[in-house]
């Protein structure tokens, strides 16, 4: 059997199609390349197989996985994929191969090496998702939109859509990932992806502040004051504080600026 390098388009469905074709053509896979992030031009590797994303194939893999390992097992793989960690595609492929080789639900096998690895990644992703729910700080703009800029370690915006949509159902909001340069935007009806091109200005804290609603500064000040007032200095515990609010998140938090 020949060892193949597979290329896909970086999408979740692309990766699932790839998995489908591994079974279809009985590929032995030596590496998986995300075409979006590939550094080398891929025609350099003429022997690479390029996967064309195919919704039907992807959905068949999803269905198969769900039957094999339940919705939770599938969700875990999706979350691992969102981590964008180098090599995660290969790990996901191996986990799927392990699942399909089993009789029972494999995602509960906490002692299997690949599953442990996946769980570890899922845990980090889920921690990041939780942090976004906590540390997103909306700033009200003069046009009434509540805007937040974030730079999550992993690509977690898809995982927080539901939370913010349900919670802030009566206000327009945008959460923008400055690192990946896209955002999610709620218009009182649905959530869509937005990308700000060059001519748009709202990309950094300074330009956001220029667009503030007249009350924004006052409420920011109140919040700051509140944060200071609830501190009990006799109990100071900086180590614990840093553990909960790692420094790299401080830039979102107006009370820490």
């Amino acid at each position: 059997m020949e060892c193949k390098v597979l290329e896909y388009d970086g999408s979740w469905y692309g990766l699932l199609t790839l998995i489908f074709e591994v079974y279809e053509y009985k590929y032995e896979v030596s590496a998986i390349i995300n075409h979006q992030r590939a550094e080398l031009q891929s025609d350099f590797f003429a022997q690479n197989a390029r996967i064309t994303t195919n919704q039907q194939k992807a959905e068949r893999v999803m269905k198969g996985l769900k039957a094999k390992t339940g919705a939770q097992g599938l969700t875990e793989l999706y979350e691992a994929y969102l981590s964008e960690i180098k090599g995660v595609e290969m790990l996901i492929l191996k986990a799927v191969q392990y699942y399909f080789s089993l009789q029972q639900a494999g995602h509960k096998n906490y002692a299997h090496p690949q599953i442990i690895e996946i769980k570890k990644i899922v845990k980090s992703v889920s921690r990041e998702r939780h942090r976004m729910k906590a540390f997103v700080r909306f700033q009200r703009l003069s046009d009434g939109i509540y805007f937040a800029l974030v730079e999550p370690d992993f690509n977690v915006l898809p995982l927080i859509v539901k939370h913010f949509k349900e919670r802030y159902a009566d206000q327009q909001w945008i959460i923008y990932d400055g690192k990946r340069n896209y955002g999610i935007s709620y218009d009182l009806h649905e959530v869509n992806e937005v990308i700000f091109g060059e001519e748009d200005v709202m990309v950094n804290q300074k330009s956001i502040a220029n667009g503030w609603h007249e009350e924004e500064a006052f409420y920011g000040k109140l919040w700051n004051l509140y944060f200071k007032s609830v501190n009990i200095k006799e109990r100071k515990n900086t180590k614990l504080h840093m553990q909960h609010v790692p420094k790299r998140y401080w830039k979102y938090l107006n009370e820490k600026l």
Partner: protein, 417 residues
């Protein structure tokens, strides 16, 4: 809202900070009719510099008070700045903080001005306004004012997710000494009423689905630690009593922060008993999640918790005859009692051992703390070699391996298992 609101906020947040509860979980209020907010798993939106979760806007409506409880900054004899929010100011602050994702909701308490009903009525009015006029579905925690009428308490329960009355001083003698105007009966009565109404509502809801919610996140209370020379046994015994009798959701323990040079109390500058507070939280967890009885951990002749080791390890060392525990056979309940194994690891062990007999390497990956557990378990390929050792030897070994963690102690509530 005016600039004056800044000053009020500084005073009334500062006065509220000694109430340590900041939980916003235990309720599942959904967003109704595209309104504002919902209530789910509690989120900490930031942490104070002492490492405590900030989840709610925690303020007093006013710090004027007709009472004179010695341990409280708001006591009437204390010479401090006083302030009072208007109903509208509290509503505006809550809504505007919430919309910016600063908070999960409001925790509103108050000094008692004029009389209990007058105070309670205002607390209720704020909650009602948030729910009815602003369609606010975020979390609301209200303080039940002792002595307020049942009608007002009932109404409060319709809007609030949680109600609480702080016991503060668990012993009758301590309360007599420090807050002679108060008595425990006065606190127990509304707790009893709320418990009964919660149960009744639950029953009615089974028949009539549209029965309105009543205090869906239940009741809680707080005890101050180290103000009235109470023992750990008295505290934990009281906690268990309140959990069982009034079905409280949480008991909070708040290490006394010296705020007065009253000779009945620890002097100014006395350290806050944070390690002790942490050990009490750990004991509380043993009661709630590890199926322990208070009397297994403490009793009148052994009234104090070890400060240098956690209460579960302490229990295990006193009960060496129950060990070693076989990881591949033991019941879930017994796994929970092994030092170094927490609730999550115990569940994982039960799930993973169906696939294969577990070995040390698996336990490491599951994440149990082997440096502690190794003295108390056997598993595939691992024979217990320490059982013959004296308990104090084992304690010595464990302590010498993890000095900083135990000696320093933190106010974190669940990390050390």
């Amino acid at each position: 809202m005016s600039e004056r609101a800044l000053e009020k906020l500084a005073i009334l947040a500062d006065a509220a900070k000694y109430d340590v509860s900041c939980s916003s979980s235990g309720s599942d209020r959904k967003n109704k009719n595209k309104g504002l907010g919902d209530t789910g798993a509690g989120i900490c939106h930031t942490y104070t510099e002492d490492g405590r979760c900030v989840s709610l806007l925690k303020i007093l409506l006013t710090n004027y008070c007709i009472y004179d409880c010695a341990y409280c900054v708001s006591r009437r004899s204390n010479d401090i700045k006083r302030a009072a929010f208007t109903v509208q100011e509290v509503v505006d602050l809550t809504i505007n903080f919430y919309r910016r994702n600063y908070i999960e909701g409001l925790f509103l308490s108050s000094g008692i001005f004029k009389d209990p009903d007058y105070t309670m009525e205002r607390l209720v009015r704020i909650a009602k306004k948030l729910r009815n006029e602003h369609n606010f579905n975020g979390y609301i925690h209200l303080k039940t004012i002792p002595g307020a009428s049942q009608e007002l308490i009932y109404e409060a329960g319709l809007y609030a997710d949680r109600l609480s009355i702080n016991l503060e001083i668990p012993t009758t003698s301590g309360l007599k000494l420090l807050a002679p105007e108060k008595d425990h009966q006065q606190m127990a009565r509304p707790m009893d009423y709320i418990r009964n109404t919660i149960i009744q509502t639950r029953e009615e809801k089974k028949i009539i689905k549209s029965t309105p919610k009543f205090v869906p996140a239940g009741q809680s209370t707080q005890m101050i630690i180290g103000a009235a020379k109470e023992s750990d046994w008295q505290i934990i015994h009281a906690a268990q009593h309140f959990y069982k009798t009034y079905q409280l959701k949480r008991v909070y323990y708040s290490g006394y922060v010296p705020i007065s040079n009253d000779t009945r109390l620890p002097a100014l500058g006395t350290a806050v008993p944070m390690v002790r507070e942490n050990r009490l939280y750990q004991t509380d967890w043993l009661l709630r999640f590890y199926k322990f009885e208070a009397s297994e951990i403490l009793n009148p002749t052994n009234p104090l918790l070890d400060l240098d080791i956690d209460p579960k390890l302490s229990w295990a060392l006193r009960n060496m005859h129950q060990f070693p525990v076989d990881i591949n056979r033991a019941s879930y309940e017994m796994l929970l009692r092994v030092p170094g194994i927490g609730v999550t690891s115990a569940k994982k062990i039960v799930a993973a051992r169906k696939f294969s007999k577990l070995r040390v390497i698996h336990l490491e990956k599951i994440g149990i703390s082997l440096s502690k557990a190794k003295y108390f378990i056997t598993c595939q390929g691992y024979q217990q070699q320490f059982v013959h050792l004296q308990a104090d030897k084992i304690k010595h070994y464990i302590l010498s391996q993890s000095t900083s963690k135990y000696i320093k102690g933190t106010s974190q509530q669940m990390q050390l298992f």
